[in-house]
Symmetry: C2
Subunit: 243 residues, 2 copies
């Protein structure tokens, strides 16, 4: 067995170092969803390990959802399925249980600012870009969001042309900043609508409000976003799968 290719963390087993090397190639954009990655036998040659070891490394990344195998065709970086990710990361349903259609998104504000306490604590910096956004379903506002992302990793986000801002942020993060959201942690609570929020949501101040606080993490498990989303508590549904 050989000792250390690009050698992240020596002394780990070969398959683990391989896996980290592959992760780096994905993170740096050397491997993209456009083309299949080299075949398992080729990678085995390149790194001077057996096919089985390459397979075990790839297994891990497939498990994590970073790669996708296609028998007969090859293995690719998984294009984050962002249409699905709306439900993945926003599992809100209609009251009857049917999935909601993709809400449209109106950006109200983007600005470099100082992070409020919870965002600063989670992101470990006060240097953030704040995004305020209103999401609507057939012209009815349903969700008011305040989003904080660290300036360090998203420099220039506030200056992206309006035209490039689609209804979903995570694809933007990926395309413009190479940041891929890997997992997130949500906390649901209930409160009362402030005057400001009520106005945006076209409800009354003091009406019951559902609040989702989310922290999102990248593939290296670093926090990259903190957001608070608020919507009318009436007809609110949040679905969660526990394994």
């Amino acid at each position: 067995m050989m000792i250390g290719f690009d050698a992240p963390d020596a002394r780990l087993p070969a398959y683990a170092r391989l896996r980290d090397t592959f992760t780096a190639r994905i993170a740096t954009g050397e491997w993209t969803p456009d083309h299949p990655i080299p075949s398992e036998s080729r990678l085995a040659q390149e790194f001077d390990v057996s096919v089985g070891t390459v397979r075990k490394a790839v297994d891990g990344l497939v498990e994590e959802g970073l790669l996708e195998r296609r028998q007969g065709s090859g293995t690719r970086v998984r294009a984050p399925s962002f249409s699905a990710s709306l439900f993945r990361f926003f599992p809100i349903r209609e009251t009857d249980g049917s999935p909601v259609s993709i809400p449209s998104s109106q950006i109200i504000l983007r600005s470099v600012t100082q992070a409020p306490a919870p965002a600063a604590s989670v992101l470990d910096t006060e240097d953030v870009i704040k995004i305020v956004r209103l999401r609507s379903l057939s012209d009815q506002p349903v969700l008011f969001e305040e989003i904080y992302i660290p300036t360090e990793r998203f420099a220039g986000f506030d200056k992206l042309p309006e035209s490039s801002l689609g209804p979903l942020l995570y694809p933007l993060y990926f395309e413009h900043f190479g940041v891929m959201v890997k997992r997130a942690s949500d906390e649901v609570s209930f409160g009362k609508a402030s005057e400001r929020v009520a106005q945006r949501l076209r409800i009354r101040a003091g009406d019951p409000l559902a609040v989702i606080e989310r922290t999102a993490f990248d593939i290296e498990n670093r926090p990259i976003e903190w957001r608070v989303a608020s919507g009318s508590a009436t007809n609110f549904r949040y679905r969660s799968e526990i394994n």
Copy 2:
């Protein structure tokens, strides 16, 4: 390669059939957390496959959380960690984010009855045992639960001695009926307290209410429980990890 041991679903690859056979052994209690399961080489002999194939089957079950490997020692059925499962299956936190201590549990009712529509639909039977339960933290009621389990699989649950009813149900399911909760699906919504619920929770009728509807599934993915839990929406927190 051989064709069919206990032969669940023939025509599947050997490792998949092995995995199913192992699952069955766990489900029937042939393998328990008390003793390690046979070694990989022994299983390879027993089923006349190679060690690699056994390993791949075991890999799957370890991944699912049913088995636990210990290098040098052996592989065991994972004792469901029910103390942890309170948070696993009820990730409610204090407002400051700290985990709550285990709430005490007072059973108010157990009776054989007819399932209400949503429970019947999910459990696919109207023949159920209903459990009504109040959970409290330091004498303050926090959660009012109505739980439905199919009589078919939990016959006699309503007649278990009071003394055997601990603060957690899932261990009971496992110990007395061999039913292991494998995963669950929660839906969080918002409502108003009915007179009946309000009284139990010591709040006022009409007060804001957080409602969690849960369906729990066993290792064979059959629904085994449907419950509705209600608590005051004030100070309510529900945490969810998304991967």
